[in-house]
Symmetry: C2
Subunit: 236 residues, 2 copies
DNA sequence: CGATGAATTGACATGACTCAACAACTGTGG
DNA sequence: CCACAGTTGTTGAGTCATGTCAATTCATCG
């Protein structure tokens, strides 16, 4: 079911050199000075997750935030009846676990969907720095706001209207912006719990898109997608 | 359609005395010292909205945040096809317009659903103060996080499952916690665009609940609700 | 190769939408 | 106070999309 990844297993062994990080400008700490970095005694660590690995569980306490360097992670909530609902997808350059700074608890279960690399930050350092460094302060607010605003989109685009539109919107959202028109395909079950449809409906819809050549499998789990065609469906 | 409320019309004429506000402890500025207040030159004003009044529109620029003292406001987004979707309800002690601090634009249309009183804060002051006052800083993060977490609930409780469950969950959410078991009833159209169902389905479901005596009209638009009964439906 | 879990497909039932008529209510002007 | 128009809510009949249940194929992995 849900394998638990241990920090030992995950840690690559090399400390992350944030100053030279290729994601520097888009990453949480981009506003920090070298002097700020000196105040962080606990090291920033790099983790690697395989598909299915659980980064943290709902309700768990912890002391870390995460930034995704590359990959895709789902945030899952469970309904009273045990059904799972995916409430957000977190991808490259996004931050995970911000709620820790407020609640000291994770609010979701975080599970990797693909091979994923991330950086782990000590939360206390972020809290402390955010009160002195206005750039980080502002960056944190931006990230919260971004999550909130994506969450509204999630509602309007992925939880409204007929299944075809929803699936089309989801595929468009999964486009890898470095490989435009190449799209990582989720399991039918994940599609279902994102869109709140059954796996059968998800499967039928994906199959129909394949038949109509709106999507074409390039390699295992990667599809070339007809952006204009799918957009036509979302608008229909 | 959408009446525009002018500040002149709305302003009660008396400056709000935040120091003596009855909502003080739950309100945005609860962490401020009297000295902080001296730094706010632009006055905090009190507004009153009638049902249907539009506080701000999507994309509009502005310089203010709002706290709801009493009442209920919907945040609306429009889909490409023009259909409206309500993405959040904002109620007493909640803050509206936080996104201004990041974007300088409002991201939704804010429309009063009932007679509503609110306070208007100059955004620049909040931004400035949040960088020096750690309590306000933390409070802002909490509010962002609260909005985000409610937004996930909105998804799981109000946008998932059959119409009956959704309506039941919505009614439970509308309970006025000062008048437990008394619940303000929304228009069928609003129910529809919250739950993403048609007005007809909303009407049928509400009617059924009335027949089953799960809800009973006490006075115009106020219902006594059978909490246990509705909870049974949400769990079913 | 056989075993397991995922994906697909079909047949059928059902819940929600559509279209349409009508009832109830609100506010207006006579 | 009534008559009217306009809006909102209710209800019904028929259709369509999605859910349900079940069988089958496909992919992966030991």
């Amino acid at each position: 079911m849900t394998k638990r990844v241990t920090i030992k297993k995950a840690w690559d062994g090399s400390n992350t050199d944030c100053l030279n990080c290729s994601l520097r400008s888009s990453v949480l700490f981009n506003g920090l000075t070298e002097k700020d970095f000196e105040l962080i005694h606990e090291p920033v660590e790099q983790l690697t997750l395989d598909p299915g690995d659980v980064l943290y569980k709902m309700g768990e306490s912890g002391h870390h935030l995460f930034t995704i360097r590359d990959g895709l992670v789902k945030l899952v909530q469970y309904l009273p009846d045990g059904a799972e609902r995916i409430v957000r997808l977190v991808k490259s350059t996004d931050v995970l676990g911000l709620e820790m700074m407020v609640n000291q608890r994770y609010e979701h279960e975080a599970v990797a969907l693909r091979h994923t690399q991330l950086c782990r930050y000590p939360m206390a350092a972020v809290t402390r720095l955010s009160q002195h460094n206005p750039v980080l302060h502002k960056d944190l607010m931006s990230r919260w706001q971004k999550a909130l605003s994506e969450s509204a989109d999630w509602l309007t685009k992925l939880s409204t209207g007929p299944a075809k539109k929803r699936v089309a919107n989801l595929l468009l959202l999964l486009i890898d912006h470095e490989n435009p028109a190449a799209c990582f395909m989720l399991s039918r079950q994940d599609i279902g719990s994102i869109l709140s449809i059954t796996t059968e409906t998800a499967s039928r819809t994906v199959s129909e898109f394949k038949r109509l050549q709106l999507i074409t499998e390039i390699e295992r789990n990667y599809f070339d997608i007809d952006v204009a065609g799918l957009q036509a469906i979302t608008a229909a």
